[in-house]
Structure formats: C-alpha cells, structure tokens
C-alpha cells in the first residue's frame, strides 16, 4: 500500500488510451466501472481534442458483480463495433475489472468480430501509464505488422517514426520537426505511429528500411520487435538539443547509407548562448526532474549548450533509472529516482536551485518555493499544449528550449540592480518583468489592499470623502475569490460614491453587485 498525494503517471490503461486516442480507426473497449470515464477529459480538456477518445467503457455496477459482468463486456464490445465500425479493436481491463478476471481477450474472440481484436494485459496493480502505452503499442505492432517482406533498394531511405501518442509532451510538433529534418537529409517517412496512424498503416510498417525511435518510453519494445521480426534497425539517439540532433543526423546517415553533403537547417541556440547577453546564464543552478528521455536530454543541454550548473537530476521513470543514475554519477551527483512528489519537493528545496526544469508537478513546487520554472516533460497541463508550433526536437526544438528556459529568469542587468539596491521599496520580491506571471495579482501595485493583520478601520482608511467599509462588509468582501475581489471592491466603492453613501454595508456590496452584474 503506497500513500500518494499526486501522481506523475496515471494507471496503465491511460497509456493504452493515449495510443488509441492518437490513432485513427482503432477502438478501445475497456472493461471498467463508471467513473473511469474521467480519463476522457484529459484528452478533451488538457489537449483540447475535438473528438471523444475512441473508448467504450463497459460501466458495470455493484449489482452486476454477482451476475454476469462478462455479458456486459460482450454487449459493449459488440455495440462498439456496430456503432464505430473500427478497422481494429483493442480490449483490456482497468484496475477494478482486472479483479473480476473476465478475460476480455477471450470474450472478444468469442464474438468473432470481422476485424482484428488485440487483447492488452495492463497489470494495473504493478504497472503505470508509460508502460501501458508501450505495451499497447508493442501488442498492436506485433499483431498487425505482418510478416517480413523484401525491401527494394531505395535512393531515399524510408523510415517509420515511432512513439508519438495523444497527450504526449509536444509530440504533435516533434513529428513535424523531425519529418522536416529527415526530408532534408534525403529520407522519407513511411508511417508515424501510433499518433496519426491507422491500423492499416501499421500493416505497412515492415516496408521501411529502419525505424526512428522518438520516445523510448513508448516505442522501445515495438522497435525491438520490429528489429527482430522485420530486420529493421532503429535509432538510439533522441534528437533533443543541438548536440543530440547532430548525433541523430549522423546516426540516420549511417543507417541510411547517406553522404553528409546536404545543406541542413541550423539552430540559433549556439549563437544565442555565445552572445554576451547570455553571460549571466553562466553557472545558474538548475534542478531537473521528469521522464527519463527528457531529463537526460535536458541535463546535456543545460550543461553543454547553455552553461548552467546542474544541481539536481532525477526521474519518475523507473525503467530509465539506470541511465539517469549513470548520468548523474558522471557529474558527481546522486540521481533522485522516485514518484513521490513530496520527496521531489524536499530535494528541490534542499538544492536551492535558481531554475527548476520539470513537469507540471515541479511547476507547482517551484511556485510554492517562488522559483522560476520551465516545463520539459509530461505530465503537463493545458498551458503546455500551446497553440503555436513549439517542438522540443531538432534545431527548431533547440530554439524553443532556449527561449522557454531563459524567459522565466530575471535578466542580467535587472538582476544586478536588484542585488545592489535591496532596500529600495519598489524592489520587493515581485519586482521585475516576472511580476506579471509570478506575483499575486495586484498585490505589488496596491499597498492599500487589506492586510489580514491590520484592524479593519486601518485597512480601509479612506481618502477624504470616500465611503467607509463596515466591518461586516469588509468581512463579506474577503469571501469573494481573490482574483475578482479587487474588481468587486472598486465597483462597490464607485456605486457608493455615485449615490453619496458614506458607509458600505453588506447590502451595498450586493446592491452594487446586482447593479453592475457582469
């Protein structure tokens, strides 16, 4: 039994959903009680998807347990096929259904549906989200990629891009960026999967000459299978950062027997980093935490490409613990391998970093500790699914990374001035361009805002002729959420002034509210 406040990874069936939701023409029948449908909102809200995830939840209830939950599964699977007409289906159990041991795979087979139905064992009580995604993708590839076939000699090699899923951190843009880079190298993309692929596309995976593994957390088992079954080698370098992208290019050229003559795009990062303005970045202390792939990439960029000092390194991906430990050890640090968010908070707090590079969780930890932060890895929240093109991979990805890591920091000269004139009243902790994003709204500009410790009369001491707040009204005002309180205060005072009231009562507050409406 493990006590958990916040989790880095969801349950394994969420990983399966990420694969299914990224694909087209695949339907997932999940044996699950009501409530597990919350997972839909991850995709429709956080990622702003405009379609429901292609998932049917069987929705069994307590009263069904003694009778026939297997029948409920069969009905749901049959109905899902009829309604959605998928080209292939996956079936599996969420945590509760796993306890019932209904065997969705066997039940679905008995239905003899006219499309491939692939069972996925999700091991809900020992495995987590990324494992669920990689297992699902592996099962799909194994089930649909068919037999090894002869591949023609090609002037332009053909590759598959493996690993992008729904709800992945910048997966949408990484696929575009790496496709552009490969095309510039003289390489064509056969299939990108799972995101964007159909079950029929997976039957064509074997046509490619080799595979590009974008996210090992998700694609490694599938790539290893394809190497064995179809004789396709795969890339080992994840192209995040300038150095890693160059190594990736070299790897692709080697696998594709390509010369290194082509003109390639370049990144602005090297010059942005070498220009004198960036001097102040030297040796800034950063703490890095996230999934294995992004943490390993970020550590290298921070050290070699921006000149930061890495004061903490860790991951929640136990599958990548060995790599992260080795990297940390190479620089005389100890890696933090945990999925306990309180442990991460304690480590960040102890390391006194000047910048935190992490997930959504570290963003909140950093906010509490009042540290600047940039998000580098899933789990991410809605603001980390930007409208603009913002890849992490390739040369444009390096540009995006430089900007998004440096923007939360105070700029060089500004930092100097703050250090020199600490007693200047305007140089409080929320001064600088950071104020807008990290300071409590309006606190800096309205010193007259009520302080909880001041007596009410002092807190609202009026300028001459202004209405006075009664103690009750003042209390009532505090019940209004802080982010609209300022507006409510202003409107009420305006309302009272216009009517020549000297005292603001609770009634005035609500009269004004009713008057102004919204």
């Amino acid at each position: 039994m493990q006590l958990t406040l916040w989790t880095y990874e969801g349950p394994s069936h969420i990983g399966a959903m990420r694969v299914a939701t990224g694909m087209n023409g695949l339907h997932f029948v999940l044996h699950a009680p009501q409530g597990d449908t919350y997972a839909d909102l991850l995709f429709t809200m956080i990622e702003r998807r405009n379609k429901r995830p292609p998932v049917t939840y069987t929705t069994f209830q307590a009263r069904d347990l003694g009778t026939d939950t297997a029948e409920i599964f069969k009905t749901a699977a049959r109905d899902a096929y009829e309604r959605h007409q998928p080209r292939a289906m996956i079936v599996g159990s969420s945590c509760t259904a796993e306890l019932l041991q209904d065997d969705p795979g066997g039940l679905a087979r008995a239905l003899a549906l006219p499309v491939p139905v692939i069972p996925v064992e999700l091991s809900a009580y020992s495995k987590k989200e990324n494992w669920g995604a990689s297992e699902t993708f592996y099962r799909l590839v194994r089930g649909l990629s068919g037999a090894k076939r002869e591949r023609p000699q090609r002037a332009r090699p053909l590759v598959n891009l493996l690993g992008p899923t729904a709800l992945g951190f910048r997966h949408r843009d990484d696929v575009i960026e790496i496709t552009k880079l490969l095309n510039a190298l003289g390489v064509d993309v056969n299939v990108a999967a799972p995101m964007g692929a159909t079950p029929d596309d997976l039957t064509r995976l074997g046509d490619a000459d080799f595979n590009v593994v974008l996210y090992p957390e998700i694609a490694l088992p599938a790539a290893q299978y394809l190497e064995k079954a179809h004789g396709q080698p795969y890339t080992k370098t994840v192209p995040i950062g300038v150095g890693a992208t160059h190594e990736f290019i070299a790897e692709v050229r080697k696998l594709g027997n390509l010369s290194d003559g082509q003109a390639l795009p370049e990144s602005n990062l090297p010059w942005w980093s070498r220009s004198v303005d960036s001097t102040y970045l030297t040796g800034k202390r950063v703490f890095i935490f996230g999934d294995g792939t992004h943490v390993l990439a970020a550590e290298r960029i921070a050290r070699e490409e921006i000149g930061f000092e890495v004061v903490g390194l860790g991951t929640f991906s136990r599958e990548f613990a060995r790599d992260v430990r080795a990297r940390a050890a190479a620089h005389n640090r100890e890696a933090l391998i945990t999925d306990d968010y309180l442990e991460v908070e304690a480590a960040i707090s102890a390391a006194h970093p000047e910048l935190v590079l992490g997930t959504q969780m570290e963003r909140h930890i950093a906010k509490r500790l009042r540290l600047p932060c940039a998000v580098i890895s899933a789990p991410a929240h809605v603001q980390d699914f930007p409208a603009r093109y913002a890849p992490q991979m390739g040369f444009e990805g390096a540009n995006v990374i430089f900007d998004s890591w440096v923007h939360p920091l105070m700029m060089g000269l500004e930092e100097h001035l703050l250090g020199m004139f600490r007693e200047d009243a305007e140089f409080h902790e929320h001064a600088s361009h950071l104020g807008a994003s990290s300071a409590p709204p309006s606190a800096a500009l309205q010193p007259a805002a009520p302080q909880p410790d001041l007596p009410a009369a002092a807190a609202v001491a009026p300028a001459s002729g202004d209405p006075v707040w009664s103690e009750e009204a003042q209390k009532e005002l505090k019940k209004i959420p802080f982010f609209v309180r300022g507006k409510a205060r202003g409107n009420t005072e305006k309302y009272a002034r216009e009517r020549g009231l000297t005292m603001i009562s609770v009634g005035t507050l609500y009269d004004a509210k009713a008057h102004f409406g919204r």
Partner: protein, 422 residues
Amino acid sequence: MNETLRSPAPDAPVVHHERGQRSVFCGLAGIVWLHRKIQDAFFLVVGSRTCAHLLQSAAGVMIFAEPRFATAILEERDLAGLADVNDELDNVVARLLERRPDIKMLFLVGSCPSEVIKIDLVRAAQRLNRIHSPRAKVVSYSGSGIEKTFTEGEDACLAALVPDLPLDAASAPSLLVVGALADVVEDQFATTFREIGVEARFLPARRADSMPAVGPNTKFILAQPFLAETARALELRGAKRIPAVFPLGSEGTSLWLKAVADAFNVQAATLDAATAPGRARAEMSLARHREQLAGKKIFFFPDSQLEVPLARFLARELGMKPVDVSTPYLHQQLLAEELALLSSETRLNEGSAVDDQLDRCREARPDLTVCGLGLANPLEAEGLPTKWAIELLFTPIQGYDQAGDLAELFTRPLTRRSRLEV
C-alpha cells in the same frame, strides 16, 4: 411575487429510464469540494492508481495547496495477500496523522477495488478510532464507482456522519440545513434565518468538532437534491424533513425559505420583510439574462443530479426551454415539488446511455448543452454550445444574491460565441 409562480402542473411526469455507458465521475469526485468545506478533515481513499489519478484530474486546478486528501494505493502484494491490508492501512493512517497534526477527522473512503476485494472499512474505522481517539475521529464511507455516481459521494459522506452527530434533546424545534454550500451562501442563509427568528445549523459544519446536534425535534431541509441517503439517516435519528424545491434562482430561494418559515410558523410579513431586498436584487440581476436566454433550447446530460432543479429555474425564471433533461438518479420523493413545476413538454430521463443521448442531442440541436468535461469540446466542435456541469458545483449558485451568477453561467457560453469572429 410575480407571474412566474404558477400553480403546479397536475399531471405526473413521465420518466424514461436508460441504461448503458456513462460519462460521469464516480463518488470520489465529491472529495474535491468536501475536503475544502470541512477545514480539519482529511480524505484517505483506499483504492488504486486510477482513484489517485481521477482525484488529481478532477482537482487539478487546486494543486497549489497541499491537499487534504490522498490515496492509499493497493499494490500487487496487497492483493496477493503478501501484506496484511489492515496492518498496511494502520501504518498509513498513523504516518498521515503524525505528519498532519491539524487533522481532526479522517474519512476512509472506499473505492471500486476496495469494494470488490471486500476490504471492510467500517471495521477498519472502528479499529482506528480506538487507536486514535480522541486525537482524531475516523469515519468511513464508499465513493466507489460501482455504487456511487458523482454527487452521491457527498451523500454517502454526510450520511456516514449522521449516526455520530450529538443528540439534540431540546424540546424546542431546531433547523438543520443539509448539504455542502459555499461558505458565503451558508452565511447569507444563516443571516436570513436569523432575521426570521430561526437559528439554523448546517451539515456539514466547517470543523469536525462543531458538527450539528440532531434529535426528534430537529426539522431539516435539504440544500442539495442528491442527499437521499443522508435524509434517510436523519429520519432514523427522528428528524423531520421539510419538503421544498431547492434554493436555485429567486423563485426557488423564496419557496425554499417559505417552506422553512411555514415549518416554524413564521409570519408571512416577517418573511417578506427579510427577503424583499434580496428578491428585488435577484429579479434585477435575472432580468438582464432573461433577455438573452428566453426561448432558447437547453439539453442536460446526466451529471450532478442538479439537472431537474436547474431546468425548473431556467424554464420558469429565464424562459428557457428544457427539451431533454437527464439525471443519474431521480428521487421522485425529494424532487416532488420540483417535478410539479416542470413542464410536461420536457423529456425526463433517469440513468445514462451516453451514445444514445449524444444522438438525441445532435437531433435536437439545442442552443445550449449542459454536460461533463469529456463531452464539452467534442460537442463544441460539432457546433453545439456547452456549459460544463462541474462548474455548477464549484460555484456559489444558491440564494438570491447568487441567482444572477447562476444565470450568468448559462449566458456566458452564448455571449462568448456571439463575440468571436474567428
């Protein structure tokens, strides 16, 4: 009052029953507001990684504070019997109470997996009470999706509190208001009741040690429509329910307050004097929204069980046309007063079959659809404006001074659409 107070329709409503796939939270989701309402309570879910992930996803916006809820995640060794679940739970609770000395009440919350493998949380709570009393009180209830739909979780939580409420042996009648309300709303109601000479107590109280007393002279009124089990538990303690519509909108609030006034023999003039200013303000705020909403069709997916009172409010006070109103459960008795005010043209459904409901929604082309977060963007993308149902539980909406805010929740999506030129 005004012409919106028509006499109830005589014919009983026809209710369609649907069964199929649902798209609604389980009872655990109530923890998201309950843990804020009871300021020294902690909610410990005994469940799976899915439970933890659900709470985190439903409460994602509140991560800025250290939450007063957590999940004790069952692992393979717990299921295989390698670890004694009760010992493990005792250890988790001991660690938790040690870390959070401010916690005075601990809820052990059952989940789907804990129900299926039959972990007896009632007995666990008794055992833990013996260990931790009087330092903290331990109570158990089930929020599991195999038994509880969304707001039924609050019902189960409050019902679990009732047997331990202190006895009110006084001979004078007392008023108990039942259901978690925003603090601001609760304060407003307390003030109004005081003005008409009735001292009100509230369940749940804001602190564990100030939970209200209950006894044979307690009269209680529900502030939320989903509290059937709590109502039954209170009746077992001898308390009497005051039947009423729910305090949504100006008319709803008036009828709700009037039901209390009648039960306590308050003079009509006293009630009128206490409520006239609030009523006038509510009418003024609603007028603005009525212009925009009158005649518009609204469609409800089943979600919070607030659907029927909301449909009544929107139809009678804002002139909307509720064409299809689904609710997870329809407690005919608790909603009798509401149903009497609902037009017979409205299709009423109990239960869920989400794909069929989506078909009906597309067919009806409503001007506004109230639905869960999983359906909102997909419907918007099909050109159907939506209102997130969950916002109706996270916003103060009851009472006169919130009537305009409640209406505004329905006008905002339409206003937004009319502004956008892209």
